[in-house]
Amino acid sequence: MTDMSYTSTRSGNSAGKIALRWGLYLMLGLFALFYLMPLFVMVTTSFKSLEEIRTGDLISLPREVTLDAWRTAWSGACTGIQCEGVRPFFWNSVQIAIPAVFISTLIGALNGYVVAQWRFKGANLFFALMLFGCFIPFQVVLLPMARMLGLMGLAGTIPGLIFVHVIYGLGFTTLFFRNYYVSIPSELTKAAKVDGAGFFRIFWSVFLPLSLPIIVVTVIWQFTQIWNDFLFGISFSQAGTQPVTVALNNIVNSTTGIKAYNVDMAAAIIAALPTLFVYVVAGKYFVRGLTAGSVKG
């Protein structure tokens, strides 16, 4: 008797637990739908024909899959007077992002190495100045930067954009490496010094080999920031040197001809693919960069 009542309350309890569990998964699933819905709509719309779009069902699958929109978005859509699609601008972004990521990461590594391991009077002040620099709204440097790029003969050029991204990326890259190197015992540097190794030698053969994780985090962070940048891109480029985000915005907001929503969506996916790819392949490092960039001095 007692046994039976015991099992019955127990099973009642676990039935409640199972219901709770189901509710939990249901809620998680609904939230997942909320986050996935825009991506789903973008992808399906990009494969639809304009006629099908005009019948106005956002979430239906395409009745007939067509690649026309993708072809137009890549090489035919108009961004203002030019009608070459996003292709040339995609390559602009590549040409901007790769050197800017490389240079800012390298300088950030050296800076972080000095601030963390070669403390001298003023190094902390330097770091504090850099840290505040991470937080300024870039609007406050736009006007003088535009003039400076003009003076340097870099206005509206790709090297000009690389220069801007390197400068305003330094704060974060220095922060990342400094926080990483600070956790490496300074005895290591001291021992290497005793052995006669110099500043660069220690960096090259002791610190760099230890740095792979933070290099990955920094490269991903910088790449995402620079690839997704719009403010610098629209402020300091001209026709022909615009990055892909600016070109995408021009396609979407171009007023000539009929609105081709499928082309807009295909262009948006193309512009998003590189960073999405990085996220899917190296999500762990991406998240680490986000949280490291957001907290702790």
């Binding site: 939990l24 998964y25 939230f31 997942a32 986050y35 825009p38 709509v41 719309t45 779009i53 005009r54 106005g56 956002l58 300088i107 050296l110 800076n111 000095v114 001298f120 190094a123 330097f126 100045l129 850099m130 620099g133 937080f135 300024i136 709204p137 609007q139 406050v140 736009l142 006007l143 003088p144 535009a146 400068i167 330094l170 704060g171 500043f199 995402t224 997704n228 719009f230 403010l231 402020s235 985000t245 995408l248 915005n249 979407v252 929503y261 807009d264 969506m265 262009a267 512009a271 998003a272 960073t275 996220y279 999500g283 998240v287 986000l290 949280t291 957001s294 907290v295 702790k296 001095g297």
Partner: protein, 290 residues
């Protein structure tokens, strides 16, 4: 000579960055501050005239809209993103078997450019063909959802898209926080028969105060810098109903040719950021030294 070089290499390595930061961050801020006190229009002038640009700024109805939009948008965005992020983190903290996959789904918008996000939501919220038409197609003929073109409601579309983009990130922050709470205390509370929701409200959430603070800092920073999303989603319209300080500044600098207004609005933006960030960074650096 080589000895001197050897001793000073670290300083020499830091020197270029130091100079760059001084010029391109602090020098440029000083330039903008200076110009914001002049009569500059199409070209910068350097005779200081006092606060005329700020007077013009606060007399401008467009700035008025932009500035109050910042607070409406910022408040809703920060509060909702934090609540949603916290809920998601707590839901995911219940030993979910597919946690990794779900986390990936919640967080992927953070990898997208705001321009991509804006483009997607602009299409979804399109009154003629988007969500509205879809719901009407299901038989709800009178369903209207025209926020995107409604001057009173358009700012909320920006809130929606911004939350979609950033709430997963808040979730990641909170989830890391939940995991760092001392498991022994939680176990002890469970042994004492304290219900789970009480464990959360009385023990776990209060112990995450620093994480709330950093989430707040990051989100408010994102809110003040919001520029791309507005440009892509509404272009600041209808009219200038969804202008934010960032779009106001850009319009003055690059399309209206009013450098004085651009500089003064940029300075106000910086002051708002610093009012939030400086106390935070100061306490962070102070606590490091202790």
């Amino acid at each position: 000579m080589t000895k001197w070089l050897e001793e000073n290499t670290p300083k020499l390595v830091l020197a270029p960055s130091f100079v760059i930061v001084l010029i391109f961050v602090y020098g440029f801020i000083a330039w903008t501050a200076w110009v914001s006190l002049t009569r500059s229009r199409l070209l910068p002038k350097y005779e200081i005239e006092g606060f005329i640009q700020y007077d013009r700024l606060f007399a401008s109805p467009r700035w008025d809209t932009a500035f109050s939009n910042l607070f409406v948008f910022g408040f809703l965005f920060i509060v909702i993103a934090m609540i949603l992020g916290l809920i998601l983190a707590i839901l995911l903290d219940q030993n979910i078997r597919t946690e990794g996959a779900i986390r990936t789904i919640y967080l992927y918008p953070m990898a997208l450019s705001m321009i991509v996000t804006g483009t997607a939501w602009k299409w979804i919220l399109n009154p003629g063909l988007g969500l509205e038409a879809t719901v009407r197609g299901w038989g709800f003929e009178n369903f209207t959802f025209d926020w995107l073109v409604n001057p009173d409601m358009a700012i909320y579309t920006i809130v929606i898209a911004a939350i979609w983009q950033s709430s997963g990130f808040v979730m990641a922050l909170f989830l890391a926080g939940l995991r760092s709470v001392d498991q022994e205390i939680i176990k002890a509370a469970q042994v004492d028969g304290i219900p789970t929701w009480r464990v959360y409200t009385a023990i776990i959430i209060p112990s995450m105060a620093p994480i709330f603070l950093s989430a707040f800092i990051v989100l408010s920073h994102l809110a003040i810098k919001s520029f791309d999303l507005v440009i892509a989603l509404t272009g600041g319209g209808p009219g200038y109903a969804t202008d934010l300080p960032a779009t106001y500044m850009y319009a003055m600098a690059f399309s209206r040719g009013d450098i004085g207004q651009a500089a003064s609005s940029a300075m106000i933006m910086m002051m708002v950021v610093f009012a939030i960030v400086v106390p935070y960074l100061y306490s962070e650096l102070r606590s490091k030294d202790d």
